[in-house]
């Protein structure tokens, strides 16, 4: 590595990105020819999960002319991430930062955004509101639809009519995924049930393996999950002969025969959009969200085990979803305690604000939120 050359270029970048930022503030006339973009991950970049999905998105920028990508993995959600952001700004001249973990936002990214008004910050998770600094923002994808598609394939492939779900925490995003997975399966066969086990942590390999084994012991023959790294769940389930649906990234290399499909983020698309806008010197949007239609999320290619009827229903539903405004959560819908949660005739499309405070498991899910 040629340290001197890089250093000079960085110094150059620092000045250009600063000028560009000023330009945006002024008349938007200045065009940044180059930019340094920083990515921060809470776990390892090769976790076959949440962090890998972002790192793949970052990797898609590395080929773009004028873009320098700097990355740091395994940065805890403490003062460490604040310091990492400052280090990327001060030592690498980063002009646009993507701190990707949910817990980076408050207070760390907000503090950094206030301290460095000329640097742009975009956070994964959709927490930004217009009370927050204007040089900050959020982006997020609607991935519940993908879990619904996972459910359709799982519904066709299960013989025991029992599915399993290893979940981290009973928070709205996770609950929506669990409910979507079961509702997808019930679109195939309304007698299907899904047992859920919460591990309580985003990344806790031992408990994830225990949970997977417990689900299989109780008869589940298709398993999916919502934890940071699905690697353990996929390997444990496939090792015992069960089918798996993936999450976050494509885990098919871990279980080529048993992997059915998976709900994946498509961050490459999102990051390229940001990078192009940033390079052109235009103002970045503060708040961006999208689903299958907008290319924010995608499905893993169907695995070799998937049967023809499963493929047909999967593809038909996927095509329908890509048109947009597809509603998974629609009435009449009861929770698993028998109370009606959505009245008949009511339907929530993926953008509905009501889904963001989901606190129930639908009928057919075996498990409790607390």
């Amino acid at each position: 590595m040629t340290q001197r050359l890089l250093f000079n270029r960085r110094q150059f970048l620092q000045t250009t990105s600063a000028t560009a930022a000023l330009g945006v503030l002024g008349a938007g006339s200045a065009v940044a020819a180059t930019a340094t973009i920083g990515f921060i991950y809470v776990g390892p970049k090769d976790d076959y999960g949440y962090n890998q999905a972002h790192a793949e998105g970052a990797a898609a920028l590395k080929g773009m002319a004028g873009i320098t990508v700097v990355e740091e993995e395994k940065v805890p959600e403490t003062v460490d991430v604040l310091k990492t952001m400052e280090s990327m700004i001060n030592l690498e001249g980063a002009g646009l930062l993507f701190p990707t973990s949910f817990g980076y936002f408050d207070p760390f990214m907000l503090q950094a955004a206030t301290k460095y008004p000329k640097v742009q910050f975009r956070h994964c998770g959709g927490l930004w509101t217009d009370k927050n600094p204007k040089n900050a923002g959020s982006y997020f994808g609607y991935i519940g639809t993908c879990q619904y598609l996972n459910g359709i394939v799982a519904g066709h492939m299960t013989k025991s009519k029992k599915l399993g779900f290893v979940a981290a925490k009973p928070i709205p995003q996770v609950l929506l995924n669990i409910n979507s997975f079961l509702l997808g399966a019930r679109a195939v066969d309304p007698s299907i049930t899904c047992q859920v086990i919460f591990t309580g942590e985003w990344s806790l390999a031992v408990k994830e393996a225990e949970a997977t084994n417990a689900l299989l012991d109780q008869g589940a023959d298709v398993v999916t999950c919502h934890v940071d790294s699905p690697k353990v769940v996929v390997q444990t389930a496939a090792g015992r002969g069960a089918y798996v649906c993936g999450y976050h990234a494509n885990q098919s290399p871990l279980a080529p025969q048993k992997y059915l499909t998976g709900a994946e983020w498509n961050w490459a698309n999102v990051y390229q959009m940001y990078a192009k806008t940033f390079l052109a010197g235009e103002t970045l949007p503060n708040f961006t969200r999208g689903g299958l239609a907008e290319g924010f999320v995608k499905m893993s290619p169907l695995g070799p085990a998937v049967t023809e009827p499963a493929r047909k229903q999967f593809e038909a539903t996927l095509a329908e979803m890509k048109k947009g405004n597809y509603a998974i959560i629609k009435g009449p819908l009861k929770d698993n305690k028998g109370a009606e949660v959505v009245a008949g005739g009511k339907a929530y499309i993926e953008t509905a604000i009501e889904l963001e405070s989901m606190n129930y498991l639908v009928e057919g899910v075996i498990g409790a939120t607390s």
Binding site: M1, Q3, L6, P44, K45, V70, E71, E72, E73, K74, V75, P76, E77, T78, V79, D80, L82, K83, T84, E86, S87, M88, N90, L91, E92, F102, G103, P107, G125, K169, P170, I171, P172, Q173, G200, E201, W202, E356, S357, S370
Partner: protein
């Protein structure tokens, strides 16, 4: 433990027969030269590792210097990461002087943080002045941590439960308890996707030391290290603890209150870690949530052992580790090495320092006793 025991007695005895200033310097020098030498050996071993994977050790140490210590920005970066390590290190070092290997400081930090947030919630809207509120939160954090590790000491003395195992397992219980409280009774309903407690009001937040962006926790940690050093080295309680650490049976026969010593020192150690939790909540996060379990308690083990359980030595060691941590990012970004590289370096230094324990008392130059024996 017998190694440490003989050494402790040796120091006390050595202090009495003062054989002139040269001997005084020689004895003090041993405690500085050997750890520094071990540090260099660890770095040398790490350099060989780097060469083996085709990376330049010179570039790495240069980046480490620049990332951790070379500029005001880097120094502040280092000191911000140092602050929690000071108190976490004390949680291991104090019981170690009694011969106890308490490695579950993480639990005390986490519960200290939760207790702080609970006190903070009780203070909300009460009109209590800021400084008094902060002291109340700190007392809450210290009480929670002190009870937790104090219980480890009590289990050890009264029920003969191995303190290493119990403290580690209790750390898991503490984290589970925190998750329960943060996701249940203490949850701020507005924290949808990241369960957290109610944010602490601005007047009860701990700010930065003027002229820096390092919070006051650094100063608190340094003061705590000095106080603990005074406690161990300059008080009769500390002397009794060191005797008990040297030989528990002998201390009992001498009539020293071994039980209260063990429980007391463990409780003080836990209070230090609990105070660390207070600082994380009141100075960094602003509320308690799962991010409190960031592993400081476990890094504290490394800090205490590198400092050879000396509270004063914890200060430079914590700064060194803070600096290594601060430069870790730069190493990842510039040299494209994985984060685990820094762990390999820490591990090599750790083993090297532990190994160096065996060379104390072996070299004539540091041991005036050997001079007289020969002469």
């Amino acid at each position: 433990m017998s190694e440490a025991a003989s050494e402790t007695t040796f120091e006390t005895v050595g202090g009495r027969r003062n054989a002139g200033s040269r001997a005084w310097i020689a004895r003090r020098a041993e405690g500085v030269v050997i750890p520094l030498g071990a540090l260099l050996v660890g770095m040398a071993a790490f350099s060989i590792f780097l060469l083996a994977i085709g990376k330049s050790p010179i570039e790495l140490f240069d980046l480490m210097w620049r990332g951790g210590f070379s500029s005001w920005f880097s120094i502040q970066n280092t000191l911000s990461r140092t602050a929690p390590l000071l108190l976490a290190g004390l949680c291991v070092a104090l019981p170690a002087r009694l011969g106890l290997a308490v490695i579950g400081g993480e639990g005390a930090i986490v519960l200290g943080g939760v207790a702080t947030a609970a006190v903070g919630e009780a203070l909300a809207g009460s009109g209590v002045p800021g400084p008094i509120g902060i002291v109340a939160m700190a007392l809450g954090g210290m009480a929670a941590g002190g009870l937790w590790i104090g219980a480890v000491g009590a289990l050890r003395h009264y029920r003969a439960v191995n303190e290493t195992i119990s403290s580690l397992l209790m750390a898991y219980i503490a984290i589970a308890l925190m998750n329960h409280l943060v996701e249940g009774p203490l949850r701020d309903p507005a924290s949808l996707n990241k369960p957290s407690t109610q944010p602490i009001e601005a007047i009860y937040r701990i700010g930065a030391i003027p002229g820096t962006d390092v919070h006051w926790g650094l100063a608190v940690g340094v003061v705590a290290c000095i106080l603990c050093w005074v406690l161990i080295e300059k008080t009769s309680w500390g002397f009794a603890a060191r005797v008990a650490g040297g030989n528990m049976r002998a201390a009992q026969i001498q009539g020293l209150p071994v039980g209260p010593l063990i429980v007391g020192f463990c409780a003080i150690a836990g209070a230090c870690a609990g105070l660390g939790g207070t600082l994380e909540v009141a100075a960094v996060h602003g509320n308690a949530n799962a991010s409190l379990a960031a592993g400081y308690g476990y890094t504290g083990i490394l800090v205490a052992f590198l400092a050879r359980q000396n509270p004063l030595a914890i200060i430079p060691v914590a700064i060194l580790l803070g600096g290594i941590d601060a430069s870790g990012g730069l190493i990842q970004r510039r040299m494209h090495l994985p984060d685990a590289t820094v762990l390999v370096l820490q591990g090599m230094i750790f083993i090297s320092i532990l190994f160096s324990d065996t060379v104390y008392g072996r070299w004539k130059i540091f041991n005036p006793e050997l001079w007289t024996e020969k002469g």
